[in-house]
Symmetry: C2
Subunit: 336 residues, 2 copies
DNA sequence: GTTTTTTTCGGAAAGGTTTCCGGAAACCCC
DNA sequence: GGGGTTTCCGGAAACCTTTCCGAAAAAAAC
């Protein structure tokens, strides 16, 4: 038997298992002398407690889960970066689950997590989820939980979001100020809070400038080809817009591609703004005006809240809905 | 007691715990009749076996770990995407650990993983690791392991890599063919196999064209400002290169930034090629010639190999070192 | 010097699952 | 209808840790 566990240590030291365990957890119920003996041998043999036994006994796993639609995406990878930083700091482990924007997968993943594998989870729902029972179920099962970015306002779970409506308002106003009179909004075809928030900001800005009638919302989706087709139709139609406001990074990229293809000059013929955390946005042709979301901060913030719940600390009212502001970075694609 | 476990099921069905367990695991040692009874109640009560108890008993965790330098990076996030796909398919869970290019953190993470928390791990080492004992230790501890992309050739662990030297040779040759006579190579300041591979491909291409003397290797690092400074020096020096070959996506971005700043025209005054998995590379100003690495495939491949090891299947000799080819995508930044 | 408290430790239970072993019933074969 | 298989199931051990409880010894209190 070469596995090194408490029993092994106890035998070699002529102690009881319980004493060894206590010694290693710095209990005051053990003399400093034996504590040192135990620690010395433990170190020498490279003892590491079996995590499954600990988890089973203590009913906690020192693990949290992150459930997100995709990872090959700046926003979510920056979020994950923030999450991992805080978790590592706390000595926690991070499980990652990708839903690939599939509601059913999301549901089964959450189902799977309701068995004690994790001490808590954070989720940004897929764009195909219309129903939030699976979140509700987790909440009722008593699993600490935080939702971020793509949230449902109805459900009683702490939320970490950004000010989608406000920043969309700002971006749209910026376009109007720069002379745009026909601004198309490329919206995500879903019922997500962020989408509606962004769209309402866009609409409010139009209204404020007496342009309510000029609303032009185009639904885009996950299929690049189809998006390109929609945008092409838009740009080749008789009432070509003079600006495109993309609600998602992908749509902004799609727009750029179509513009290059159709030789539409940005920003002379068409101004473009997109939600995007692309670090290379400044290097695009032309440099793209972007709304950058505080992804890293949102990841850190969400995780901090999650740990507060896990540690059963009372949440301030203000912590149940945290809004981290986005940033509008003006570049050439929206310049006059 | 409202927790639903085997004991609870057994009591309600008037069966022994062992029978219930067997019924749920499709043992032939239980009649189909009672099996159905058990399953029915289990489903009704939403029974989910406690993963820690299972793991403890079976000595396996159904979990693998991915240890990578960073996640906010197209290459690694695409890899992770591939990993997650295969793992989810196998019913496995994925733990993620970021080293942030810190050797010590990497070491302590691997140390932490040597306690049975995971059934296997895959790693791409940080650029500050010079010593691979921590990998060796894991290997000796019997933890199934695969290394990918950033590997050490010496260590006896299956490797999944791409043909860095060959593709660097191809890229450099492409630049030479397009008239470049003074090609700077922006290298990562580390001792990684991939760096040396890329550099050797660059050197071999120069040699083949009788340009061995024109070698121009510039060491860059993690600090963007410092990299920019290096590149600025390069472009403002008396012997300005007519091409830059960036060994890392970040350096290519740095190059673009400096070129924009100094108004150096790409590709007329300077041709640029970079290793990069940036999907928007085609939209840069100008569109960037990139070497795209098969990140997603490498993730899938690595994970498949890892599962073969976990399942104790014999590895073919060819599976101990898998090379997935990279792609050179020619765009305007390197055109004549 | 006796009683009470504190210190230090051992024994054993508990957490939930899997699996080994043995036993009882049912079946089969001649 | 006795011997031998199957079939099906229960009991209990095992995985390793944490923690409750009690006990012995040492220290403190009176």
């Amino acid at each position: 038997m070469d596995t090194v566990n408490l029993k092994r240590l106890a035998k070699e030291l002529n102690l009881a298992i319980s004493t060894v365990s206590r010694a290693l957890s710095d209990s005051h119920e053990v003399s400093s002398e034996t504590r040192d003996r135990v620690r010395a041998l433990a170190k020498k043999l490279g003892f590491q407690p079996n995590p499954h036994a600990s988890s089973l006994r203590q009913n906690k796993s020192k693990t949290i889960a992150v459930v997100i639609p995709e990872i090959d995406n700046h926003f979510f990878s920056q979020v994950l970066n923030g999450v991992e930083t805080v978790a590592q700091d706390k000595g926690y482990h991070v499980l990652i689950y990708l839903t690939h924007e599939d509601y059913n997968k999301e549901k089964s993943i959450l189902q799977l997590l309701r068995n004690g594998r994790v001490d808590g989870l954070m989720i940004s729902v897929s764009n195909t989820t219309r129903n939030f029972e699976h979140l509700e179920n987790c909440r009722e099962a008593g699993i600490p939980m935080v939702s971020f970015d793509r949230i449902d306002e109805q459900i009683d779970v702490p939320k970490v979001i950004t000010d989608d409506a406000a920043i969309a308002f700002k971006a749209t106003s910026h376009l109007i100020k720069n002379g745009c009179r026909r601004i198309a909004f490329l919206s995500m075809s879903d019922s997500l809070s962020i989408s509606s928030g962004r769209q309402s900001g866009y609409v409010r800005a139009l209204e404020k400038h007496g342009m309510a009638k000029q609303q032009l919302v185009v639904e885009c989706g996950a299929d690049d080809k189809q998006n390109a087709q929609e945008i092409r139709k838009l740009l080749q139609g008789k009432q070509r817009p003079d600006a495109i406001f993309a609600a998602v990074e992908r749509f902004a990229i799609n727009t750029y591609e179509v513009c290059h293809e159709l030789r539409v000059a940005i920003p002379q013929e068409l101004k473009v703004i997109g939600f995007s955390n692309l670090p290379a946005a400044a290097l695009l042709d032309p440099p793209m005006t972007t709304i950058v979301q505080p992804a890293y901060e949102m990841g850190k913030e969400s995780t901090s809240i999650l740990f507060k719940i896990i540690e059963k600390k009372a949440l301030l009212h203000s912590e149940k809905r945290i809004v981290v502001p986005s940033l509008l970075i003006e570049r050439r694609s929206s310049a006059v």
